[in-house]
Symmetry: C2
Subunit: 456 residues, 2 copies
C-alpha cells in the first residue's frame, strides 16, 4: 500500500489534468445537440481506461453508449469481483449567465475545480479509475477483479442501463457494486450510505354532486367534496406526526442503537436547517431526530391538491370533486404494494357516505438497506477512515436511487454508496465543482477499498 500511496501522491497533478480533459466534454444527455459530444466523451473514457491497461469497450444501446472497463484477469479467476458504477453524462449547464467560469472550461479556484460534471459524476468515478491505475502501474496485484460500468443516461433516467444489465447478467455477476454518486457532510465526515427509502404513489378523488353546484341555491344541504377530502386527509397524520393507517408500521425494521448513534454523529444545526428550507419551524414524527425523520422513517406526503375554482377572484360553487396526489416514502422492510393496499383501505374507511371515492395506485419502488455492520460495509468504512483520517458516518438517503434498485433486482447484489460530493458542490446548479482534496483522498480511499473488500 505504501507504493500505491507514493504513486498517487506523485501523480496528483496529472490526475487533475486528466480530469480536466474529461470535464471538457459537454456530455449533456438531455440535449440532442450534444449527441456527438456524448459519443466522443464515451470514446475518450474507453480509450483512457485502455491506456491504463484495462479491457474497455463502448457498448451501443438504444440511447447513449455505455462504457465498460475490466481489470486484467485470469480465466476462472477466484478473486472476488466488484462492479464500479458511474455516469459520464451531465446535467444541462443552463442558466449559463450564473456561472463564474464557463461550465465546460474547467477552472481551478482555490481547492475547487469548477465545471459541469466535476462532482456529478465524472470526478467521483474517475477517482476509482485512478486508484486502479495506481495498482496497475506500480505492478501491485489487484486483490479483486473490477468491472467499471459507466453509463451516459443517468441524468435522463434512460432505460439503456437496465437493458444492458439484463443482457449481460452473467458477465456482471459480482460480489458487490461500489457507487460514488452520493454525498458526504464534510471532510471530517466521510460517509457510507447504507439505506434508501422506497416510494409508493397514489391519487385519491372524491366526487359529491355530479357537477359544480350553485353554493347559494344548494349550499348547506350537500357535503362539500373539498371539505370531505380535507377532513379525510387531516386524519391520515396523527398529532404526534405518525401515520394513521392500521398496519402501516408493521414491517418497519427498528433503527438499532448503533444506527441512531451513527446518524446522530452527522453534523446538524437546527437553525441552519430551518434556514435552508425556509420554514418557520420544523415538524416531524415525535421521538425521532430530523435526520432520522427524513431518511429513516416513512412519510405520507400530499404532493398536490385540486378542487373547484382556482382562478382569479371567487366562484360561489360547491365543487363536484376534490382530489389529492399522494406519495409515501417507505423504509425497510415495508412493501410498496402492501402499503398502497393499506392506505387505500384506510382512505376508503374514512370516506363519508356522501362521497364516491376513487383511489388510483401509481408507481412504487422498494426501500433498500444493506447491513452497516456486514463485512463489506465494515471494509468500506475502514477504507474511508484510512483515507480521510476521521471515523466515517453512516448515512441513510431519504430518496430512492434507481440504479441501486436495478442492481438489486437484476444482479441480486448489494450496493455500497461511498459518496464524494460535498454539500456545497452545486450539483445540478451553476458553478458545480469538485473539491480536489476530496478527489485525492477519494483515490486513496478507493485504493484501500479493493484490498479491504478482498480481505472481508
Amino acid at each position: 500500500m505504501k507504493q500505491l500511496k507514493k504513486y498517487i501522491d506523485a501523480n496528483r497533478q496529472r490526475f487533475v489534468d486528466e480530469l480536466i480533459e474529461y470535464l471538457r466534454f459537454p456530455s449533456v444527455s438531455a440535449q440532442s445537440a450534444h449527441k456527438k459530444d456524448i459519443a466522443d466523451c464515451a470514446r475518450w473514457l474507453a480509450g483512457h481506461a485502455k491506456s491504463l491497461g484495462l479491457r474497455s469497450r463502448v457498448h451501443r444501446t438504444g440511447g447513449h453508449p455505455i462504457v465498460t472497463a475490466e481489470t486484467p484477469r485470469r480465466r476462472n479467476s477466484a478473486k472476488p469481483h466488484f462492479l464500479v458504477y458511474g455516469h459520464y453524462d451531465v446535467q444541462p449547464p443552463e442558466p449559463l449567465e450564473l456561472w463564474d467560469s464557463p461550465p465546460f472550461e474547467p477552472t481551478l479556484r482555490g481547492r475547487s475545480l469548477f465545471a459541469r460534471g466535476a462532482s456529478d459524476n465524472k470526478g467521483q468515478h474517475f477517482a476509482h479509475l485512478k486508484a486502479v491505475e495506481a495498482y496497475l502501474k506500480t505492478g501491485t496485484e489487484l486483490p479483486c477483479d473490477l468491472t467499471f460500468v459507466v453509463e451516459g443516461e443517468e441524468e435522463v433516467g434512460g432505460e439503456a442501463l437496465v437493458e444492458f444489465l439484463k443482457q449481460n447478467k452473467r458477465e456482471l455477476q459480482c460480489d458487490g457494486v461500489v457507487v460514488s454518486d452520493t454525498g458526504m457532510p464534510d471532510l471530517k465526515h466521510p460517509a457510507l450510505t447504507y439505506a434508501l427509502r422506497g416510494v409508493a404513489a397514489l391519487e385519491v378523488k372524491l366526487t359529491g354532486p355530479d357537477r359544480d353546484l350553485h353554493s347559494g341555491i344548494y349550499g348547506g344541504s350537500v357535503e362539500n367534496p373539498a371539505m370531505a377530502l380535507s377532513k379525510m386527509l387531516g386524519r391520515m397524520i396523527n398529532k404526534n406526526g405518525s401515520i394513521n393507517v392500521p398496519g402501516f408500521y408493521d414491517d418497519v425494521i427498528k433503527l438499532t442503537a448503533y444506527e441512531r448513534r451513527q446518524l446522530a454523529r452527522v453534523p446538524y444545526s437546527e437553525a441552519k436547517y430551518k434556514k435552508l428550507l425556509g420554514v418557520k419551524a420544523l415538524f416531524g414524527e415525535k421521538g425521532f431526530t430530523p435526520n432520522e425523520q427524513r431518511a429513516a422513517r416513512p412519510t405520507f406526503e400530499i404532493n398536490g391538491l385540486t378542487s373547484g375554482y382556482q382562478g382569479e377572484g371567487s366562484k360561489t360553487i360547491v365543487p363536484s370533486a376534490a382530489s389529492a396526489k399522494i406519495t409515501m416514502r417507505l423504509v425497510p422492510d415495508q412493501k410498496p404494494q402492501k402499503i398502497l393496499r393499506l392506505v387505500a383501505k384506510q382512505l376508503k374507511a374514512l370516506c363519508p357516505p356522501t362521497m364516491r371515492i376513487e383511489v388510483d395506485l401509481g408507481h412504487a419502488a422498494d426501500p433498500y438497506i444493506v447491513s452497516p455492520t456486514g463485512p463489506l460495509a465494515k471494509a468500506a468504512l475502514k477504507s474511508l477512515e484510512a483515507s480521510f483520517g476521521h471515523e466515517p458516518v453512516l448515512l441513510r438517503e431519504g430518496g430512492s436511487i434507481p440504479i441501486v434498485e436495478h442492481f438489486s433486482r437484476i444482479l441480486k447484489v448489494d450496493t455500497y454508496l461511498l459518496g464524494l460530493a460535498l454539500p456545497d458542490d452545486n450539483l445540478h446548479s451553476p458553478n458545480e465543482k469538485m473539491d480536489l482534496e476530496v478527489f485525492t483522498r477519494g483515490i486513496w480511499m478507493s485504493a484501500n477499498l479493493w484490498t479491504n473488500l478482498a480481505e472481508a
Copy 2:
C-alpha cells in the same frame, strides 16, 4: 274586482299574443351583436306601456337603456307608491341545437309558451303590466301609484340600474318594490320569497418551506402545507355540520315556528333532490331540514383548493404552499364584515406554528329579510291565494339577488318577491318556457295585489 277579472278573462288570448310579440326581440344583453335588438325591445315596451295609458320613457344609460312607465297620477297623490321591477334583457340562447323550436320564434306547445325570456323575465313583469291595463281600460281606479322599472342589463350584472336608482332616488321614493323574478314550486304552491342569504368571501394561504422541496431528501422533517391546510379546514366544520367559529352564530335570527311550518309546506322529496344534485347522500347541519339548510342557515363552503403539483402523473414534492378559496353564505342578521373577522381569527388560531398564514378578505353582501307577517307581506300572500286558489308558501332564497340589495341600500325600501317561474321553466337553459296558466293567474294576482297592498 269582478270587472277586472272579466276583462282579464276576455283578453287572455290577446295578452298572450302581445307577450309573443315582446318575446320576438332577441334582447340578449351579453352579445354586442344584439345591441340594436335591445334598443328596439326597450322602445317597443315603452310604446306598449304608453298605448295602455302609462307615462313611459326610455332612459339612456352607460350601458343598455332602462324603461320606466308610471301609472297616471295626480300631483301630490296621497296613494301609496310601489315600484315594479323587471328586466327585458335575456340570457344568450346558445346552444341553439338543443332548442325544440327557435328561441326567438315563440311557440305554443300545450300550456307552455317556449321562447328565450318567456319566464326570465318578460312573461313575469308583463303580467303586472297587463293587470295595470285591466285597471286602466275598465276605468277602475288604481288604489296605488305604480312605477315600472324595467332594465336591460340584469343578465350581465350591469351597473346602469345602480346609477339610475341613485340619480332618481327622489322620484323612485316608494312604499315597497314588487319583483316577479324568482320561482314557485308548482301551481298549488304560489310563493312569497321573504329572505335571502348574504355572502362573504375570503382566501386563505399557508406557506411552509420557501419553495417546493424534494420529498425524498426532506420529507418527514417538515410539515406539509397541503396537510396543514387540510387539518385546519377539516376543523372548521363540526361533526354535526355546524361551523366551528366562535361567535359565528351570535347574530343569527332564529327561525320562528311559523317560518319552519311554512318552509315544511314546500314540496320536497329526498329521492328527487338527491337525483337532481347527483349525490349519493345528503349532508347538512343537524337539526334542520334540507330546505332550511340551503336557504335559512349559514354555510362555510370551500370553493377551490390549490396546492403543489396538479398535472399528469406524480411529482415527489413537499409543496411550498397550499390555499383555499372560501365563501360563507350568511343569514339575517349576520354582518359580513364581522363574520370575515371571526373566521380569519379562527383560521389564524388553528394555523400550526410551522406555517405562515395569509387571509385575504373578498367581496361581501348582506343577508336580507322582510317580515313574512308584516302587513305588506300579508297582502301579498292574500293576493297569491286569491289568484292561485291555494295557500301560498313562504320561501327563503339561498343565494343573493343584487337588485334587492340595491333597493334596500339606495331607496331604503323592502322588496316583495312574488316569483312566477316554475322549476321546469328552463331558465338560462334551452327550451325556456312560460306556463300560460301561471301567466294568467299572475295577471289576476297582480290585479289583486294593488288593491290589497293599498289596503294594508
